[in-house]
């Protein structure tokens, strides 16, 4: 075979094998997450227990606690990581993450308001994710509409406006926290630290399908994302409608973040670290980057959650502590060892 085809085949082969490896990693994460806990189950018993169903204790632990929690881990980890990789692509800025634009701040403020006014006790616990989602939606709409000039999106302005809104919102949060009771304060802080402990199945599966839908839709924009690696102007020269692509991608990424934050709280670093690690391993082509970030983010969060709930069992660490310490450390080590350029 000619030399040129060998190289192309090698590239496409890497693109095929890498996501497969991540699927395998995800499979391992799933198995560990399902088997390790207060009651350990052997991996080999898993198929039997799940197949038999019934009402054994082990089956209900799996069915009601561990499986939903693991699925939520995949959905949130995958969703945040995907959202991070998309935002880094449209802003051409490696430091942007899903929370940079004030989406998490908006959600946290919504939740804090609900807790401070006791709405979760008065109306019901579903108020927390609802307020989180509404808060993030308001933040998204604010950032989006303030960045419009003459009907066109000013992408660099948008970043700045997002950061500013983030600051304003977190100051408002601090204000609320300083005037409320110690009990409410604890509730707010606990929520902000993030957790995959979510009892509502509808929310869990809703988040899962939203993440998968986000992944599928983002693949329709893989060409614009790739072209924008050269910048907006050059992408337009290549026949890309950058305006429309940026708008839609922004909406996908921020809605996905909003949903994840509303359900699982603020889990930092996933949206920043995973896309970078993936980029360092397989390169910056979005055709492989999107799926790999999604799978990698999911596996990473499931592992983090596993650590968070086993390290000081029976107590649980906030998952953000694990993603920050472990993820951040791995990232710094890998980065200092590779000399590749980030962008």
């Amino acid at each position: 075979m000619e030399e040129k085809y060998k190289y192309i085949r090698k590239k496409y082969l890497t693109w095929g094998i890498f996501p497969l490896l991540l699927i395998f990693l995800l499979f391992v994460a799933f198995s560990l997450s399902l088997t390790i806990g207060e009651i350990d189950i052997s991996v080999f018993e898993l198929p039997e227990i799940i197949g038999k169903k019934g009402d054994s204790v082990i089956y209900s632990i799996l069915n009601k606690i561990r499986i939903p929690r693991t699925i939520l881990g995949l959905a949130v980890g995958g969703g945040l990581s995907l959202s991070g990789v998309i935002l880094q692509g449209i802003y051409r800025n490696p430091l942007v993450e899903p929370y940079t634009l004030g989406i998490s701040g908006g959600a946290a403020l919504g939740v804090a308001l609900v807790i401070v006014f006791g709405l979760n006790h008065m109306i019901g616990n579903f108020m927390l994710p609802l307020a989180g989602f509404i808060g993030s939606l308001i933040a998204i709409i604010l950032v989006y509409s303030l960045s419009l000039r003459n009907g066109k999106i000013q992408i660099q302005n948008m970043l700045l406006i997002g950061v500013m809104i983030s600051f304003i919102v977190s100051s408002a949060m601090m204000f609320l926290m300083s005037i409320t009771t110690a009990e409410n304060l604890h509730g707010i802080v606990f929520w902000t630290m993030g957790s995959l402990d979510e009892p509502d199945m509808t929310l869990i599966y809703g988040t899962f399908w939203a993440s998968v839908a986000g992944l599928l839709i983002s693949y329709l924009f893989v060409k614009p994302l790739n072209a924008m690696r050269l910048g907006e102007t050059k992408a337009r020269h290549l026949g890309i409608n950058t305006e429309a692509s940026i708008r839609i991608l922004f909406v996908i990424a921020s809605l996905l973040t909003g949903i994840c934050v509303a359900v699982a709280g603020v889990i930092g670093f996933v949206g920043l670290i995973i896309p970078h690690l993936i980029r360092l391993t397989v390169g910056s082509d979005f055709r492989v980057l999107l799926i790999s970030s999604f799978l990698g983010g999911g596996a990473f969060l499931i592992f983090s959650d596993l650590l968070a709930r086993t390290v000081i069992a029976p107590n649980e660490l906030p998952i953000g502590v694990i993603t920050g310490i472990i993820g951040g450390t791995i990232f710094v080590i890998v980065l200092s060892r590779t000399r590749m350029k980030l962008n």
Partner: protein, 264 residues
Amino acid sequence: MLQIEKLKCGYGKKFHISDISFRVNKGGFTGIIGPNGSGKTTLFRGITGELETEKGRILLDGKDAKILSQKERAQSMAIVTQEIENANITVEDYVLMGRMPYRSTFQFFENKKDFSIANKYLKLTDIYKLKHKFMYQLSGGEKQLAAIARALTQEPKLLLLDEPTSHLDITHQVQVLNLIQRLNTELGLTVLMIIHDLNLAGEYCDHLVLMNDGKIHLSGRPEEVLNYQTIEEVYNTVVITKTNPLSKKPVVFLVSGNVLNQKK
């Protein structure tokens, strides 16, 4: 090929060019020259569609550019800017991007035709051996050759270049311009190029459009445009013009302040 009729465009109230009319014939090699701030780049951005046409119209191959989609535009004209590409992307992937205007949303991978076209132009621009290197590893001249290869991979009818040689030394200037000249004469590609250097403009272009103050000052063959009266008027500088003994093209000489004072 490209016909511009009474074009007016610009940046709101700040600056605009107006009453621009000229045409670039099929197979022509036209240069746009003029002092800084004369509106060359504004005109260029008007033609590429970056700036909205406020008045007049632009005809591409007889069709109003306004009704063309972004994709159709990219299929008929390719653009090389002066800005040098530093992305973390291999030369081959970069050149393959030129096939984007031909790929549908659901075609995720390049096909054989895309690869063979990209390879053809990688060879033509003499950077085939660099194709597995990253863009940021290339020299300035090589990057510009890669940008031209990418533009050619779009298989355009019209090649637009915005000062493609402004960051290059004369070896690479001549290398890049010789390549463009070859594309023009051998492949019949129509070329429209902004170029600062009057001597390079006179040597390579067969038609020049001289811009001044947002309007066309003069348009014609190089020897008609590059005469000392016109240049002194537009550039406000004393020059001497002669003819290159070999190519018979006009050459412009500058006169320094000291020499000028001595003569007075």
